[in-house]
Amino acid sequence: MKPIRAPLLALAACALIAAGCGLFDTAQPESPDSNPGIPPSFSVPESTLATLERAVESRSASNYGLCLTDSLGLQEPGFYASFDPADLAAWLQEGNPDPGIWTRERELTFFPQFLAFDPNNFYTVTLTQDPVRPDVDLNATTRILNRRYRVFAGGNPVAAGSAGLTMASVGLSGDWKIRFWEDRRDTNDVRTWGTARLSGR
């Protein structure tokens, strides 16, 4: 070997050794939904809401998506959501375009962004009966559950408001899913879930 090539080979060897022996490898992260916990249940509307709470708390995008109606193959409209008029007006006043219809696909895209609002803490979600709006049974397969929601992360509020959740019994198994989320403000100083959807986090 010519001596002139030795430094080049030494340099290349150092680089290959450093790169190849794992000196610069990153560790394997835990999956956000690696702890499945209690399996989802959609047998009654309340169990669907409990599944939704747990899906947010355990960061399970798949279980969250299962709580929402899907138009695919079910011969029925998929999930959609509306915004509190005051939230929508404030959004438009800031110069943003009209958000249009908030569909299931947009909700599933939004979900991880919502979790990223406070990435260092797990969220806690509570859904309680709205004290001023009772539930309504429309028919045997459709109910409107009015629920007050509170979402916290590490003690800090993430979202608060009230939602009129139209629950529908769908499919051959009759699973109860959320078809329509009518979002409403019920606090002055904490953003609603709808505002979080608009701002994308």
Binding site: I4, A15, A18, G95
Partner: protein, 699 residues
């Protein structure tokens, strides 16, 4: 015979003594400068909630802490031995304006040596005002020293120091600062050579009175400092510094006349450094430092340590500090121009608070670095490897943990001159940072440690430069970078990303004729963001940047400059479909910046400048393929600048930089009800300095 063997006995003996000293000094003390004070002061700033100026609160806390520790010993540095300008008296003053802040500084330095007597005085006054917080900060100090030369190697004398510090603000929750430090001491200085060893030393004994806002400490102080060194034939040398400061103070507090505390303060410091020329191929250098200290003082703490709202009570505080640092380096000069350098560092730093235990910090560092370089085949390749680990024990806080940081870097670069006009350069770097939080402790419900996280950044670039003539050159650089952000915990891993960036930059400069200069820089960047656990969020951004500068020299005293920057950014989703990746643009953010500058050199000491700038940044949202302008920000700015550098004879001079900026910021929104808000943002930036020397030149 090598220098090491020539140094022989003394070198090895000193090394052994230093090592023994470093580990043998009694472990009881706190260093005066606390390098981990910032988290504390930041926390203090937060608790003060001075929303007007967090920086103000930070600086106050820092000053208070530094002053508090220094006050335990008094000022033992001598102004007789410092370097000074020619002349027996020099005076300088500086006045600065930074928007709403004003600072006026004055300083005087006096030195005279009539016969065997030496007299020196140093006085400084700084007054700072911050309009927004209504803050006024005053710092005045004067120190006078007198010495009589008893023998060429011995001086006897004394020192008197006075210091007054105050800090007030009208802002709510501001904690004012008052501090009066007076010290008087008798000193003996010696400077004598014993064979090959020069020995310098200082002994001082005096009285210290440290009056703070709500407490007072007064008593006696003792200081000792000695230093020696040895130079060996062949270039090797060794130096040793030892110092000890002691004080015994009686501390009282303003709101409790019966409270008396006997404080004993002690700080010992040992420093050893040296370098050795081992042979013609190898040199080495090393440093070691050990410090032990104890500072005692009254501290105000909540009566119930678990209730921050409980009443503050005074308790004795003792801060024990330990510092051990050592580093060593080897430098090899190898055949064919090759060079290899290796260095290592070890350090441990402990500050233990016995009463305010949550302020305790225990930190250690280890670092290793090696670099190798050898020119061959016209290349100039080099490789550098670094690995450092730092640990910080924060378990005395609630919540608390041990934070461990690792940083590892490998860098390879090479350059080659391809021809008389063409050069090339290649660079590749990979960096890994690893952050771990272990030993989590907390009594608070619902708290968790920050997520362990890794970050790997790898980048490479290739650059070609072409310079066919002195009036034209151009270059192109292509680069690729990958940045992996890996949060390990489930709570945070939803945000894990891989950011891949491709960039191309092209620049050129031309000097057509003697009065023109044009340079332009173009860059195009595409950045792909891949979310590991939520692929629906994948994004793609494009950034194009064009910057042009045209400079025209109209005459010997007038120059015009035109600056234009165009920046176009767009961003959107980057979805993985069955047919491949698809870009769905969602927003645009553009910036157009245009500036014109005229520089007029009126005289040798005065230059005037006028600059005008317009910057427009529209933001567009793309909805169903249509770009809708949602808002726009505009800034128009005019700046006038005067720079002066006026010598006033050989012993004085005036320098200054005065600039006035008048700016208007407009914010336009195009929502349901379009809005147009404008506000003026005019300000001054001034810095004027004057200096005068009596009995000598300032130049």
């Amino acid at each position: 015979m090598s220098a090491l063997s020539r140094a022989g006995g003394p070198f090895v003996l000193c090394l052994a003594l230093a090592a023994a000293g470093a580990w043998g000094v009694a472990a009881s003390g706190a260093q005066t400068a606390d390098p981990f004070a910032f988290p504390d002061s930041a926390a203090m700033a937060e608790s003060l909630r001075i929303v007007d100026s967090v920086a103000v609160a930070d600086s106050i806390a820092f000053e208070e802490e530094a002053a508090g520790d220094a006050g335990a010993f008094g000022n033992s540095r001598s102004i007789l031995d410092r370097q000074r300008n020619a002349g027996f008296l020099s005076y300088n003053t500086n006045y600065a304006v930074n928007r709403g802040n004003r600072t006026w500084t004055q300083g005087a330095d006096f030195y005279a040596a009539p016969g065997l007597l030496q007299v020196a005085n140093q006085t400084s006054i700084t007054i700072g005002k911050e309009q927004r917080a209504g803050r006024e900060n005053r710092n005045r100090s004067t120190r006078t020293e007198l010495a009589y030369r008893v023998a060429p190697w011995l001086r006897l004398g004394g020192a008197l120091g006075l210091q007054r510090i105050s800090d007030d603000a009208t802002t709510a929750n501001f904690v004012p600062l008052r501090q009066d430090n007076d010290d008087i001491s008798a000193q003996a200085r010696f400077n004598r050579r014993f064979g090959a060893y020069p020995l310098r030393g200082l002994l001082s004994y005096g009285y210290l009175d440290n009056q703070q806002f709500d407490q007072n400490s007064k008593g006696s102080t003792f200081g000792f400092f000695a230093a020696t060194s040895r130079a060996f034939i062949g270039g090797s040398n060794l130096s040793l510094d030892v110092s000890q400061q002691l004080s015994r103070l009686t501390s009282t507090v303003a709101d409790d006349s019966s409270y008396v505390q006997d404080d004993r303060n002690n700080i010992k410091d040992l420093r050893l450094s040296g370098n050795a020329v081992i042979n013609r191929w190898l040199t080495a250098d090393a440093r070691a430092n050990a410090q032990r200290s104890t500072v005692e003082r009254p501290a105000r703490v909540p009566e119930d340590p678990n209730d921050f709202n409980s009443e503050l009570v005074v308790k004795p505080e003792a801060v024990d500090g330990t510092i051990n640092n050592a580093d060593v380096a080897l430098h090899f000069r190898l055949p064919r121009g090759a060079a290899l350098n290796m260095s290592g560092t070890l350090g441990k730093n402990e500050t233990l608070y016995q009463t305010e235990t949550t302020r305790t910090t225990i930190a250690s560092t280890q670092a290793f670095r090696a670099d190798y370089r050898q020119p061959f085949l016209g290349l100039d390749p080099s490789i550098t490897y670094e690995n450092s680990i730092s640990d910080n024990d924060l378990t005395r806080r609630d919540p608390g943990w041990i934070e461990s940081n690792l940083t590892r870097r490998l860098d390879i670069s090479a350059g080659k001159i391809l021809s008389r006009t063409l050069t090339s350069r290649f660079n590749a770097t990979v960096t890994l940072t690893r952050r771990r939080y272990e030993g989590f402790v907390s009594n608070l419900v619902g708290t968790s440690p920050p997520s362990n996280a890794d970050n790997r950044r790898a980048r490479g670039s290739l650059n070609l430069n072409y310079r066919p003539s002195p009036t034209f050159d151009t270059g192109v650089t292509a680069g690729i970078e990958e940045n992996d952000v890996v949060n390990l915990a489930r709570a945070s891993s939803i945000n894990n990303t891989t950011l891949r960036t491709y960039s191309v930059t092209w620049n050129w400069s031309a000097r057509p004729g003697s009065i023109w200069f044009v340079t332009q820089n173009n860059s195009a960047t595409a950045a792909q963001t891949y979310y590991t656990f939520s692929t629906d969020r994948d994004q793609l951004s494009f950034i194009y940047n064009l910057a042009t500068l045209i400079s025209t020299t109209l005459s010997r005293s007038v120059r015009l400059e035109l600056n234009n920057t165009l920046r176009l950014q767009s961003r959107g989703s980057w979805r993985a479909l069955e047919t491949g990746r698809s870009f769905g643009k969602s927003s645009e953010f553009n910036t157009l910046d245009l500036g014109l500058r005229t520089i007029y050199t009126a005289t040798d000491w005065l230059a005037l400048e006028a600059a005008e700038r317009l910057s427009v940044s529209p933001t567009l949202t793309v909805s169903e393929g249509e770009a809708i302008k949602t808002n726009e920000s505009r800034r128009t700015e005019f700046t006038a600048i005067a720079r002066l550098n006026l010598p006033m004879g050989s012993s004085s001079g005036l320098t200054g930089d005065i600039r006035r900026t008048m700016a208007t910021d407009r914010q336009l929104t195009y929502g349901g009800t379009p809005t147009d808000r404008a506000n003026n943002n005019d300000y001054w930036l001034v810095n004027i300095a004057f200096r005068k020397s009596f009995g000598g030149s300032t130049r």
